[in-house]
Symmetry: none
Subunit: 227 residues, 4 copies
DNA sequence: TATGAATGAGGCTTCATTCAT
DNA sequence: AATGAATGAAGCCTCATTCAT
């Protein structure tokens, strides 16, 4: 019995080590991808940064792409978590908490957010990892849904303009996307008060589309919105 | 006399053909870059799409990167042109014309805008074309300046919130950036009323940061803005 | 304990194999370079002559030039070794041993010597391998120094003409250089008694610039020259 | 009659221009080949240095190799001329005049001599220009013959050691060859008194293999050697 | 089980030569 | 007759993936 138990222990131990190493690989990849040009990150470098052999990497991931898509998945899931917290707060009375959570989670590590966008670029037509990419899409859609739900509520409360709810959520997404690029984009000049700027943008994100603004806009509004 | 003239004509003719071929190469490259994954676009494919030999490409461009950066430059210059028009309109009384011009020129061909962003990613540390990339940066800064100028005026007129003018122009940039990504991003679901959505975002872009909105935002505003 | 030892053994074993393969590449390159026009020797051919894949070559050498400069280094070092032996003999009383060693080591494999000269031609402005080329120069200078030292001694002993010592060592170098070209140069006609000819030249090399002279030369002169 | 004459004149005129341009091409090629790495000299550069179009080059030479071998031929012929002069002087009583002429003509422009050697390297197995290379060999053999003739005479006069005459002529060739390399070889250290050194070597060349020796050498020896 | 040497497809670039104008 | 744009073969090098130890 004991022998069996210790054998099971050993297996569990091994699994733990195995998973720890997997995390190590992902972490190493992440650091490299953020610190240098994506195209320069090779499997060799990842392995060596993780302190293991190149062959070992392939015991954990079938292809290089699987490492990359894994980073994408991890990131989207972290947003999901943050969004769920926002939903909780929203239930407690602050209906803006969801979009705030969304903005904050994406702007918390702009470089990571940006990296995930870049990765998607390279991976869109990768034939391995098709299923993982579908999963990424699924998660993203769930984020949209969460935003949509809250926005629909805010429209019902008369706070937001009465346009299709996804107009708001997508605008929200767009601004967040742009803010991320802005954050680290060096060609826009060196911005020193980045924190304040990001706060400004977040506030725009949270309030944009509020009633009383949109109808002041120019002649580009869709007909359906005119009274 | 005639002989001379016809000789000059012939030279001019040749130059025209030469430049036309150059345009052909850029066009071929552009089409390929937009229609398939950037990494899959090779010089060979560009040449064959342009209907010429691989070696011919190198009569027009020193390296592959020069083709790519050329696309970037052409694009930024087209925005400059559109922005100059906006400035003219602004002088005739519509102070929002500049940011509208900016949004419209970037959203006119979102795929191209996005492509240029992707290209920058790959080229950012290319050692050839350093000077061309500097030129791209220069042009972009001139766009910012144009926006800043108008925004400063709008702040003076009491229309926009009195925050540093680049807060507005950068937010503007960020939203445009995000809108571009939004436009073609397939994983966000297939949006059918894209036109209307883009109009909505443009209107947000033109009015965002208007007085009376920002101070309603949450607790993220910089201290200097509080009364 | 045993496990450890065998593990260390295995590593050592692997290193040995690795180095052996490196030698194999150099050997393959050398054979090709000597047997056909240098410009016709490609990395592909080297790999296939070494019985390995093209990519494998790049596990051992960063660039093709590194293979070539390696051949140069190996050669210069072999001369160093031979020269050191000559110095030992010189200490035992034969002051001509050094220049003899120099001539003999360069004339031992004239084709290799000549190859190294050709390689230098092509590599002289190669930007990779700058440091290795510097090392080649360093070694060569040490050869000169060794010759100079002995020559200075011979001048002091009144055996050689009293001109700056490098006149002698460089003449020595020049004759060796020329002899090498001579050895295999097909356009000079097919010389059959090459051995004797080389002996004649070596004797000239050893005695040239003597105050007294040629008939005093060592035992390398062809029989017909002896009285 | 006059018309005919002027037509013939025109043709002659054209031929003159044509030949002048041919010389221009060869000159341009020569300058480039001497001033930069041989492998970097392209037909384009030659044409542009000669101030004509690339296509025009091919009106004069069937292939690039023909330009190169032409340089070789021109050089060997210039040596022939100088050697013929030496023979004249020899007839007037100075039997060393031939080898002196040989040494001097080769050391007059060491870079050119060296260039011709390098060219031969690259061209040995060029399938076009086989006949021209044969001609180069033929000329060289005639140089050897000239030297041999004189050497045989010197042996007969009891001045040179009685070894096969080509021992002497080839040694002579070898030393000249080496001296050429020496002249411009930078890795041997910067020699400042090159002129004196070349004089020293020439004197060795002229006297080497003498039964008596070096102190009998002609007027080329550096002053320090004279009593 | 972990390793890293080996592999080779595929990318970019050069340049001698051709040929239509 | 002169031109130079066009061509494409051929070379070097990278790196994801495999597999024997």
């Amino acid at each position: 019995m004991q022998a069996k138990a210790s054998s099971a222990d050993r297996i569990r131990e091994k699994k733990k080590i195995f998973l720890a190493r997997e995390a190590k690989i992902v972490k190493a990849a992440l650091e490299l991808l953020i610190s240098e040009n994506i195209d320069r990150v090779t499997v060799s470098k990842i392995a060596s940064k993780a302190g293991i052999g190149k062959g070992t990497v392939y015991k954990h991931f079938l292809t290089k792409n699987e490492i990359l898509v894994r980073i994408m998945l991890d990131y989207e899931q972290s947003i999901s978590t943050r969004l769920a917290e926002g939903l909780e707060e929203a239930k407690k009375g602050d209906p803006g908490a969801v979009s705030k959570a969304y903005f904050e989670s994406r702007l918390a590590r702009p470089q990571l957010d940006r990296l995930v966008q870049k990765l998607e670029d390279r991976l869109v037509d990768a034939e391995d990892i098709e299923s993982q990419l579908a999963e990424v899409s699924r998660i993203r859609r769930s984020h949209e849904d969460a935003l949509d739900t809250m926005i629909t509520k805010l429209i019902g409360d008369g706070i937001l303009e009465d346009v299709p709810s996804h107009y708001h959520s997508l605008s929200c997404w767009a601004l967040a996307q742009g803010a991320v690029e802005l954050y680290f984009n060096r060609t826009l000049g060196d911005i020193e008060d980045t924190e304040a700027l990001m706060g400004f943008i977040t506030s725009i994100g949270v309030t944009m589309g509020n009633r009383g603004q949109y109808h002041q806009a120019g002649d580009k509004q869709p007909k359906s919105l005119k009274k």
